[in-house]
């Protein structure tokens, strides 16, 4: 098994763990972390799988750089929203959605 494969497999595990975290965890900060785990998993698969012959491929690396920036942006927005929610309600969990 090449290094690339190990990266890809780790990525798959991280992704699955991240999704499970987003679904199961109510605490918003942890949920954001879980989302980042998920993103990192996808990045690892992207780079690792493409380099499963252990030869460097610059294209997925560049894509991952782009992806990281996007993930940073999304994380920042999520944090801002959580802070705002905390300021408004004092809670770090999502309130129930009501129609009234």
């Amino acid at each position: 098994m090449s290094t690339g494969f190990i990266f890809a497999l780790t990525g798959a595990i991280l992704f699955a763990a991240g999704v499970a975290g987003v679904v199961l965890i109510g605490h918003l900060l942890r949920r954001i972390l879980a989302f980042n785990l998920m993103g990192s998993g996808a990045f690892l698969v992207l780079v690792g799988l493409a380099q499963r012959q252990d030869v460097v491929d610059p294209v997925p690396q560049a894509m991952v750089l782009t992806g990281i920036v996007v993930a940073v942006a999304a994380t920042a927005l999520a944090l801002a929203l959580v802070r705002k929610l905390h300021a408004l309600t004092g809670q770090l969990e999502l309130p129930d959605d009501v129609d009234a």
Binding site: F35, L46, P60, A74, V82, L85
Partner: protein
């Protein structure tokens, strides 16, 4: 030699990016006029492009001059051109609407214009991209702009709704991204045109997983039942122009992408999921309609109606190989896009005027806001699928294709869905025709608000008389 300089395809992306940036630099609350001027130009560009595609078939733009698979290609076929047309046609009246709506120093309007610009740019870029990874970036552009718009200036409920929406959209695009990663791993490219001949019937199992991941992620973003949980609070809680943009366009973008994959690179893989999607679509129609019938708040009702109306789109998948199914889907996208934008816009007027967002608060509004209620009625007509609206044509097309394929169950779902839509639309109209309590006071609203809502709703009906052009445009497919 000047031809590439004026390629409408590129300018449909550059122009909104430019006016969004300009609006940001101009500062809080500014930028309405650049946006409206930009959108008017974009409308013209979209029409130009549609004519070009209608006459000459698919047009391409090779970004950087490298060409796929090394570079990124942009491609416009009939489907893309139609989506571009719809986007600009909905956005322009909504921009005019929003200018009046946010005039009174509404905190939600502070950064509306640049956010809207990035949203439109993201949508346009998504509709023309022919590169799976580039599509991921455009998806994120659209998603983050939409979340920003929902959250802007809101209270706790709205922020919570935005967070829910953000998680849904991020998980959705995350799943899509993993799918793209697997595709790249399997084939070494993410260019749609390059992948097209490579993905064959005996594709490795990994590609099936990739297809499943991408479609699941996009389903989540399209709010297909049972992934719709985030939509009603987000669309129901945002300011009216934002709800309109989101319901009319944003959810359609991820649906478009499913279609694009289905008809393009993953055409050998995805049809395995066809009936699953159709069943979920049918469930969405019933569940969404039922919730709309029960909703207390007006905008919540309209948001659930979106859940239901999106269900129709997924009914076409089992029939997509047959002639007419794609046309039916696109007609439904147009019908719902125009009608829902008009309906949310009308709801915004009603809420501003009556000061409350409940169905019960509408009593007597026919008398006092006739233009708005008329707009609401016209939009409702399209959602119910009554002739001569475009919603009717969409319904007709779906039923006819379903009968031709022998899937009469789909035809019955569509017919039943129309009746359920009638129930929730009439809940509102009925209330509006009731006699007014004499004490009720009404805040005056700008005329422009009423008439831009009316224009959208009327367009959704009038399109029902101009179906031939749209069908001809869709004939120019890749």
């Amino acid at each position: 030699m000047l031809e590439p300089l004026f390629d409408p395809l590129v300018w449909l992306i550059l122009l909104p990016l430019a006016w969004a940036t300009l609006a940001f630099v101009l500062g809080p609350g500014r930028g309405a006029w650049p946006a409206i001027a930009g959108l008017a130009t974009q409308c013209w560009l979209a029409i130009e492009l549609a004519q070009k595609v209608g006459a000459g078939g698919v047009t391409n733009h090779v970004v950087g001059g490298w060409g796929a698979p090394l570079g990124i290609d942009l491609a416009v076929d009939g489907l893309s051109a139609a989506m571009l047309l719809l986007t600009q046609a909905v956005a322009l009246p909504l921009a005019i609407y929003a200018r009046s709506y946010f005039k009174l120093n509404d905190p939600a309007g502070t950064w509306f214009w640049p956010l809207m610009g990035f949203l439109i740019a993201g949508l346009n870029a998504l509709f023309v991209s022919a590169d799976l990874f580039n599509l991921y970036v455009t998806l994120e552009l659209v998603g983050l702009a939409a979340v920003g718009l929902v959250a802007a200036g809101g209270g706790a409920q709205q922020v919570a709704a935005a967070l829910r929406y953000l998680f849904a959209t991020l998980v959705g695009s995350g799943a899509y991204l993993l799918g793209v990663a697997l595709i790249y791993g399997a084939y070494g490219t993410v260019s749609i045109s390059t992948l097209l001949p490579l993905v064959t019937n005996d594709a490795p199992r990994l590609v099936w997983i990739a297809g499943g991941l991408m479609v699941s992620g996009l389903m989540l973003k399209t709010a297909l039942f049972p992934f719709h949980f985030w939509l009603p609070p987000a669309h129901g809680g945002a300011p009216a122009p934002v709800s309109a943009l989101l319901s009319a366009l944003v959810v359609k973008a991820s649906f478009y992408l499913i279609l694009r994959l289905w008809l393009g690179p993953l055409q050998t893989v995805l049809p395995a999921f066809a009936w699953l999607l159709a069943m979920l679509g049918a469930a969405a129609i019933f569940w969404g309609s039922w919730q709309a019938i029960r909703a207390v708040k007006l905008k919540r009702l309209i948001a659930y109606s979106t859940v239901a109306q999106l269900g129709y789109l997924f009914l076409i998948f089992p029939m997509l190989a047959a002639h007419g199914a794609l046309e039916a889907g696109v007609m439904q996208i147009f019908a719902h896009g125009l009608a829902k934008a008009g309906m949310f816009a009308a709801a915004g007027v009603l809420i501003k005027a009556t000061g409350q967002d409940t169905v019960a608060g509408l009593a007597g509004s026919v008398e006092r806001l006739p233009v708005t209620m008329f707009a609401f009625g016209l939009a409702g007509m399209t959602l119910m699928g009554l002739p001569p609206s475009s919603g009717f044509l969409a319904k007709w097309l779906i039923i006819e294709v379903a009968l031709a394929q022998g899937h009469w169950i789909i035809a019955m779902v569509v017919l039943a869905g129309g009746l359920l839509a009638a129930v929730y639309v009439l809940r509102v109209l009925r209330q509006a025709f009731l006699l007014t309590p004499a004490s009720a006071t009404l805040t005056p609203v700008p005329r422009m608000l009423e008439w831009s809502a009316f224009a959208l709703a009327a367009a959704s009906v009038l399109l029902g008389l101009r179906g031939v052009e749209l069908m001809r445009l869709l004939g120019a497919m890749a």
